[in-house]
Amino acid sequence: MEYVISVLLSGISVGGQYALIAIGYTLVYGILRLINFAHGDVFMVAGLMGIYFTATMPITVSIPLVLIMTVILGFVIERAAYKPLRSAPRMSVMISAIGVSYLLQNTATYVTGGQPMTYPEIPFLSSTVGVAGTQTKWVVIITPFLVLALVYLLTLLINHTKVGMAMRAVSKDFATSRLMGIRVNSVISVTFIIGSALAAVGSVLYFTNYPAITPTAGAMPGLKAFVAAVFGGIGSIPGAVIGAFLIGICETIIKGLPSSWDVSVFSDAFTFALLIIILIFKPQGLFGEAATDKV
């Protein structure tokens, strides 16, 4: 029983962290139809910044600073690497995203010298707590609640503000929105800013829980978050969140299956298999809308 609870606990917290990254994917894909491969690496860079900033500054200054710098990074990436390709074929933009991801990883290797870096302890979040006989970090408990609160705020933003309305319009019809006088570029920037900010929050939670950061640390969570976004129906925020929690829980359950079965190595493979099955049988995901091509 303790074992089951501890597996579920870590599943929920992993899911929550994926959810924060997945929102970034789903927002960007909803508007640009671009799989932003660099998003996972932005998340990793946010983690590294957390390490370097807290080394010189108190936590109260450094965490907001991480947030701001990550937002700036996301904004700059969009302006430098995606905006010039707005009218190019989709494949080019995706390749540009792969290039950015490559650049971020290599720069991180250069800066850290390839060493795994240790994420600093964050007061309260890093301290341990006992739940139903198992011991865990506070961050595990807090993550799901924080995620839900953030998602609620985001939904308010999207449904009840002008920017949100513009975002919805652009994701429905890019060209028409532009004709209707929506400043599409600003909307896209806002999307990247929101995505990056959530990735930064995600990085604080994730790396507090799993404190070793390597230059490739963002790649896997990134891909899984993308799968979560597809699973929930790309473009749908609640979908992405539910997808992320499901994937996080499934993954930890697979890892927790008896060793004699020797299937825990397939926890990543499972995520991809799930993705393929979803794409084939319900390509619009759980909450997405079906689209038809016009002939």
Partner: protein, 396 residues
């Protein structure tokens, strides 16, 4: 127009780089003149970069200590030539041929067996001897006459740890965790299992996918299965992650680690926790006071070395091994009596050297003759390694 510019740019790049590429090997005329070049075939990027850099550190320190070698009455300067094998098998052959192309007299490295096996044929083809420093997979030297090594093998290390587990903890049940697809982890786990089960113990093996960061499920599983020890022969980044998560889960089962865990990054993760971590390794700080003092000074006065060592001056075993490897290389050059690579290769099997990590000699396959390993434990209060015991294997 753009296309033309692109072409011109590509052309210009090609030409200029051709010039660089062409010039680089030409400037040092190999072992001629009064310089002997020793190739350093190590990862400084990729997954094993951390270990590779520490190994290089030992060589660099040794080189700064003894920058010359006397051969046949003539004093040669020794120069280390680096080639980054990128921790990956597809980059290793070109790194190896980079060294071959720079006409080195012999090669040291690598950290990580996979890259050594990928680069090995290049050295063999060129008739260049390579001395593995900490590549512990049996297949590195087997089938390659030109590859030697100064470290013990996976099966020996696993044997040592299995025996230690039974001696110290009277362990009956062991939980082994390795990275899927990593020959180092899986090899050690397999050998550990053989020895442990032969002695009547029970072994649970488990693997995690590459780039995994959540180990709580695995650790909880080990706990709920009632394991007496947890054996985690994983690479540094994973080890660090496992230690951090084990401490937050309050795991009180002792951890056993292989030589990769003998790293200050891992040590740091155990500091201030209640974890018990025991690692088998090549060298224990305090083994040679002169070396300890020398290298600490070297690290302190060299910021690059400090970074390479992970920001502090705790000595990793691989650094000691790198240090020894350099001196073994010098011995081989001296024994050969000439800077010629063929003569050096012929001389290596006869080399005997008492290094900081123990005495080194080679057997028929080219492996080091070693029968002891050091076991040390993480002193979690002070964040240092404490010497536990010298452990020998059961079969040898």
């Amino acid at each position: 127009m753009k296309k033309i510019i692109a072409l011109i740019m590509a052309g210009a790049m090609t030409l200029s780089l051709c010039a660089c590429g062409g010039a680089a090997p030409a400037q040092g005329a190999g072992a001629s003149g009064d310089t002997i070049r020793i190739g350093v075939f190590e990862p400084s990027t990729g997954d094993s970069a951390s270990g590779g850099k520490k190994e290089i550190l030992g060589m660099q320190f040794a080189n700064s200590e003894t920058p010359t070698v006397e051969v046949g009455g003539k004093t040669y300067n020794v120069e280390l030539v680096m080639a980054d094998n990128g921790s990956s098998a597809d980059k290793a052959p070109s790194a190896a041929s980079e060294l071959v192309g720079k006409d080195v007299a012999l090669v040291l490295g690598s950290y990580g067996s996979g890259v050594s096996m990928a680069g090995g044929p290049k050295f063999e083809e060129a008739g260049l001897a390579a001395i593995g420093v900490t590549c512990t997979n049996p297949n590195v030297t087997a089938g390659n006459d030109y590859y030697f090594r100064i470290c013990f093998l996976d099966n020996f290390q696993a044997d040592v740890l299995a025996n230690f587990a039974m001696d110290k903890f009277s362990a009956k049940k062991a939980y082994c965790l390795g990275e899927n697809g990593n020959e180092y982890d899986q090899g050690l786990v397999a050998f550990f299992k053989q020895v442990f089960e032969a002695a009547g113990g029970e072994v649970i093996t488990d693997s995690f996918p590459t780039n995994n960061s959540d180990f709580t499920s695995y650790l909880n599983k080990a706990k709920s299965e009632g394991a007496d020890v947890i054996f985690t022969p994983v690479s540094i980044a994973y080890a660090k992650q496992i230690m951090e998560q084990a401490s937050s889960l309050g795991i009180d089962i002792p951890f056993l680690g292989s030589d990769t865990l003998d790293d200050n990054m891992v040590l740091e993760a155990t500091k201030g926790t209640n974890l018990q971590l025991y690692v088998s390794t090549f060298y224990q700080e305090g083994g040679s006071e002169a070396f300890d003092k020398g290298i600490k000074d070297y690290i302190k006065h060299n910021s690059n070395a400090m970074t390479a060592n992970g920001g502090n001056d705790t000595i990793s075993a691989v650094t000691a091994m790198g240090y020894d490897a350099y001196y073994v290389a010098l011995e081989a050059i001296k024994a050969a009596g000439s800077p010629d690579k063929g003569a050096i290769k012929a001389a290596i099997p006869g080399v005997k050297y008492d290094g900081v990590s123990g005495s080194i000699a080679f057997d028929a396959v080219g492996d080091a003759v070693r029968d002891t390993a050091y076991i040390k434990t993480a002193d979690t209060a002070s964040g240092t390694w404490a010497f536990e015991k010298v452990q020998t294997g059961s079969s040898k």
